[in-house]
Symmetry: none
Subunit: 158 residues, 2 copies
DNA sequence: CGTTTTCCCATGTTATCCCATGATGTCCCG
DNA sequence: CGGGACATCATGGGATAACATGGGAAAACG
């Protein structure tokens, strides 16, 4: 499988370990890493995650900027300094660092949501709320879809 | 791991020793040096650090400048003259020279921030302030990435 | 010689490895 | 079509290794 797909809620044990869903695991491994790269979203209270390929793309984009420019340093300290490469153990589990758990309000359970080339990790109830809201707004935004259908595509989702 | 990633705050002991984060250590060793190269930033009160690879890259960048220009001399005096190759001891610790600590205002704790090919060393509170600013500006700077990218947006779409 | 640096060891904490269990799902064969 | 053997997976626990940190002793330096 080549992209992160589906939704899974797993428990976090006393040691802070949580199983990365097996299907996500195989995506990361197919990209050449026995682990995933995670960082706090600056869009909301959840964690962004991806395989090494997406993470390397970010690195490469940053390297196009001048190596000592303030812009590069600021972007990198947010995108890389706040990120963590989480290798899974022999059973496919990862440990979410304290800062990431705090950012997402995660305590004893985590919801993994596949989004294609990347995925998100949510506190389960927070995700439910987000999803309900998204569903509600989708109705209102439905018009937008029609109206943009004839326009060139934007950056967004996949 | 091939690039410096994540953020770690370690203590400086009475002898001036501080552990280089284990993950940074393995990056440097993978580049062929049991140590790191550090020099004062000319952008602010923090220390720049890297493995040997990026350090050699800096040399190359300097060599492209006019050899007798004052600009080149000034850059070189900071990037090379003020730089130090800090080898880690048998436990993976380094000693930050007095001038570097003074430049960054570091006393008893140091925050290591991975930025990909290089990293920075900050006084913890100073970094917190910088990070708050960086987070604020990251969205604006995000355009820099998008415009240079043939790739999907980084911030996390929604 | 006294000061600083380097090496070695001790310790507590945290992460990692290894094995066990139960639950679920898959496949094969009757 | 049904049932059971087997694989996969999430989860838990104990043992082990890695790491950050502190301190002492030996070595280098001026």
């Amino acid at each position: 499988m080549e992209s992160f797909r589906g939704r899974f809620t797993n428990k976090i044990d006393a040691k802070g370990r949580v199983s990365l869903p097996a299907k996500f695991r195989s995506v990361a491994i197919a990209q050449g890493l026995s682990g995933v790269v995670c960082f706090p979203s600056f869009q909301g209270a959840f964690i962004e995650g991806s395989g090494p390929r997406f993470a390397e793309n970010i690195d490469r984009m940053l390297q196009r900027l001048d190596p000592f420019s303030p812009e590069r340093d600021m972007l990198a300290s947010v995108l890389i300094g706040d990120s963590a490469e989480l290798m899974f153990d022999s059973d496919g589990r990862i440990i979410l660092p304290e800062e990431l758990r705090a950012h997402a309000g995660i305590t004893d359970e985590a919801t993994f949501v596949g989004l294609g080339e990347k995925f998100q990790i949510w506190e389960p109830k927070a995700f439910e709320a987000f999803r309900a809201e998204a569903l509600e707004k989708a109705r209102a935004y439905g018009d937008l879809l029609k109206s943009t259908a004839t326009l060139p595509p934007v950056g967004g989702a996949q």
